[in-house]
Amino acid sequence: MALGAAAGVVGTFLLLRKRALTADALSHATLPGIAIAFMVLVAFGGTGKSMLGLLLGAFVFGCIGVLFILAIRHTTRLKDDAAIGIVLSVFFGLGLCLLKIATEMPNGSAAGLQGFIFGKAASMVSSDAMTMLGVAVGIILITGILRKEYTLLCFDEKFSITQGWPVLRLDVALMGMVAIVTVIALQSVGLVLAVAMLIIPAASARYWARNVTSMLIVAAFIGCLSGWLGATVSALIPRMPTGPIIVLICGFWFIVSFIFGRNDGIIMSQLVRIRLNRRVAMQHLLRAMWEAIEKEQERSIFVEAIVSKRSWNKAFVERQLRRAKSRGYVTKRDATSWCLTDEGAGEANRIVRNHRLWEVYLINFADIAPSHVDRDADMIEHVLGGDMVHKLETLLCTSGSLPSPHPLGAEVQT
């Protein structure tokens, strides 16, 4: 659980810094470190079971792996992806070779080492758990203190350089913390899946949080929850490996966030789009009615007249009219004709005015042919805010280019 929280916190910055898969390479690169540490320990007469020694080896090799990635990226024409892939696979291969040799060492028992690859939370003893807890709390504290620095680094690296932050040292510190988290994650989720603990909670949190602080908290919470649920599930159901279960639960949270999330979640973004489409359709309807009224000088218009204004079909127009009616913009005169209410007329006036102001602006300032402006203005009119309209008015008045090709419609006082 503590691990989940720490991983969530560090992972947030890792994700924002777009370094997600570097952590993957790092975790794979720890394997030779573990094997070598084991061999050294055995060679000095131990059983090779000292957790601290093994983790130290893992940490050192994780860092070497990251250094290799940086070196390959900076001194060859290969890009990040190839550098990560090379380091990941070659180090892992080396690790496997060494591990095989380690199992043959005379007085060590290397049986537990395989556990690092896929994780074996069950084999942990309480002192290990305490170490993990301590490290996790430490990491959360450090990230908390350096929160402002890392936020700036993630969003505007150049600015933080000009501000005199030690960017390189901050980056190194971040990767160092990633290495530590990976190393303590090795025992529980294994090195293949350690990267999931870093990325997934952070990626899920992004769908809920509006700023970095809340993202950190949500990520920590999701990591924590997944860790706890995973451990519980694997304890309750037989033959359920802990590491993969934790990752699957993380994945479940990600799917939930991906679909229901507040920012950019699928449902939310569809809702936003539908709402925008509706508003656009409504505004088009009102403008079409206004223009028809303006031309015919009649209060009421036939549905056919509206349908002919745009590439609409009758059913669509009638549906829009019913929606407009429920908002009180239009009333039904008889079976086939409708008219604008006062409120509807006011709204329509405003829309038409925006449309035509923009047309004038395009003709005068963007040199667009008068026959083309209608369509261009069509797209922008829906997003013109109040102050934008005001700016347009002042601009057009001072340059003396009012009135427009069409009468603008009365200025609406709101």
Binding site: S89, K100, A196, I200
Partner: protein
């Protein structure tokens, strides 16, 4: 070490597998999608596990279909999460493949009773035992060799059919689009190829090391050549060499320390890594070491030319003698470098030693004349086109004189005196 028929077959299988992987690998590296290869090779696992659960046997066709389907699903999900969910590409891959891999592990653990597959095989592959797994009527050819051989041929066939398309999409996707090649179609062909190859290689080297076979030989080849065709052939060769080297070192290196041997698959990855490291250092055009040596050689060359120029000017003014001790101070380099430069010039027959001072031979004099001529002409040219401080002028000309080509000489034209008033020596 005793090399047996089994070892030969291991190397053949490994080489076929590595060569098969190298073909999609080249495109993955060039299109900067190496990690897609990583992601797909991980997600082959759930595909295989599902195929096992459904059919209950190790039927290769079912395995292939299962893995290809899940591989394509991976490619699709990564794309979907990236575009719909606005997640950065790397993170989106990380999410998809870890979750699917975890799913595969859980499935495997659940199915362990009726399926003879274990995590060890996932990691290491089973190339050591491949020889014992023979198809009936296979003329003694192990199944692994047949599977990987077929995969290699299939990949080669796809590569030959779509050579031009792959080449264009790899280097310039927008040009490909304008030529009517559908990038999405090529993308999924590549993904299918990758997934199928990953399945074939799965039994040989295990899921995680497949990526070594995909990326490392191709990346190595990319450091050695600029031509796409050569790149493919080189990666095929490098892949095969890593297999041979890998197995050889797997059975020999540990014995030096008294152990019986190590896993061939892991050693193959390490061998590929070693080849990459070699190319990284000594590749003629890209290598760190060769670039460093080139830089050193250029510097030494410039120093030698500077020495010649100095001797020429001493002759011109007809005063002073050049001693090697003064040189190191004058040019700001170590006395060792000056000694090397003088020695090389002496060997080239450009200078001679009289008492304790140096002077030009006639051969050296003509070289020095050309050098001083180009120096002074540069000064004239710069003065005319880029007016600047005379001291600065000398510095710019000192740098340019060493890199003046024939065409540049023609462009510089002719002049009698340089801006400092010294005569420009004639062309010989």
């Amino acid at each position: 070490m005793n090399w047996t028929e089994i070892d030969t077959w291991i190397v053949i299988i490994g080489a076929l597998c590595a060569a098969g992987c190298a073909i999609p690998g080249t495109i993955l590296v060039l299109r900067r999608m190496s990690l897609m290869g990583d992601a797909i090779s991980h997600t082959v696992l759930p595909g295989i596990a599902i195929a096992f659960l459904v059919t209950g046997s190790r039927d290769p066709t079912a395995m292939l279909i299962g893995a290809v389907v899940v591989g394509l699903l991976t490619a699709f999900l990564v794309q979907a999460i990236q575009t719909l969910g606005k997640v950065e590409a790397g993170a989106s891959m990380g999410i998809v493949f870890t979750v699917l891999f975890a799913f595969g592990l859980v499935l495997m653990r659940q199915a362990i009773d009726h399926v003879d597959i274990d995590p060890d095989c996932v990691l290491n592959g089973a190339i050591e035992f491949a020889w014992f797994d023979q198809t009936p009527g296979g003329w003694g050819i192990p199944r692994g060799a047949i599977v990987n051989g077929i995969m290699l041929l299939a990949n080669l066939a796809i590569m030959i059919v779509f050579y031009k398309e792959f080449k264009i999409t790899a280097f310039d996707p927008s040009l490909a689009k304008s030529k009517g090649i559908k990038p999405a179609f090529m993308h999924y062909i590549l993904m299918t190829m990758t997934a199928a190859t990953a399945v074939a290689a799965f039994e040989t080297v295990g899921t995680i090391l497949v990526v070594a076979m995909f990326i490392v030989p191709s990346a190595t080849a990319y450091l050695l050549t600029d031509r796409y065709g050569v790149l493919i052939i080189l990666s095929l060769l490098l892949g095969a060499i890593s297999a041979g080297l890998g197995h050889l070192s797997a059975i020999t290196v540990p014995t030096w320390f008294g152990y019986s041997g190590t896993t061939t698959a892991g050693a193959m990855a390490v061998a590929a890594g070693a080849l990459f490291f070699g190319a990284w250092m000594v590749s003629p055009s890209q290598g760190l070491l060769s670039r460093f040596l080139r830089k050193v050689e250029t510097k030494a060359h410039i120093l030698r030319e500077d020495v010649l120029g100095l001797l020429w000017r001493i002759e011109e003014r007809n005063k002073g003698k050049m001693k090697s001790e003064d040189l190191s101070q004058l040019f700001g380099v170590s006395s060792r470098k000056v000694r090397v430069a003088l020695y090389r010039l002496l060997k080239q027959g450009a200078i001679q030693q009289t008492q304790s001072s140096w002077s030009l031979t006639s051969k050296g004099r003509s070289r020095a004349t050309a050098l001083v001529r180009s120096h002074r002409l540069w000064e004239v040219y710069l003065e005319k086109h880029y007016p600047q401080d005379t001291h600065q002028l000398h510095h710019s000309a000192s740098r340019l004189e060493h890199v003046t080509t024939e065409t540049m000489k023609q462009e510089l034209g002719n002049a009698d005196v340089d801006p400092h008033g010294s005569p420009v020596p004639g062309d010989e």
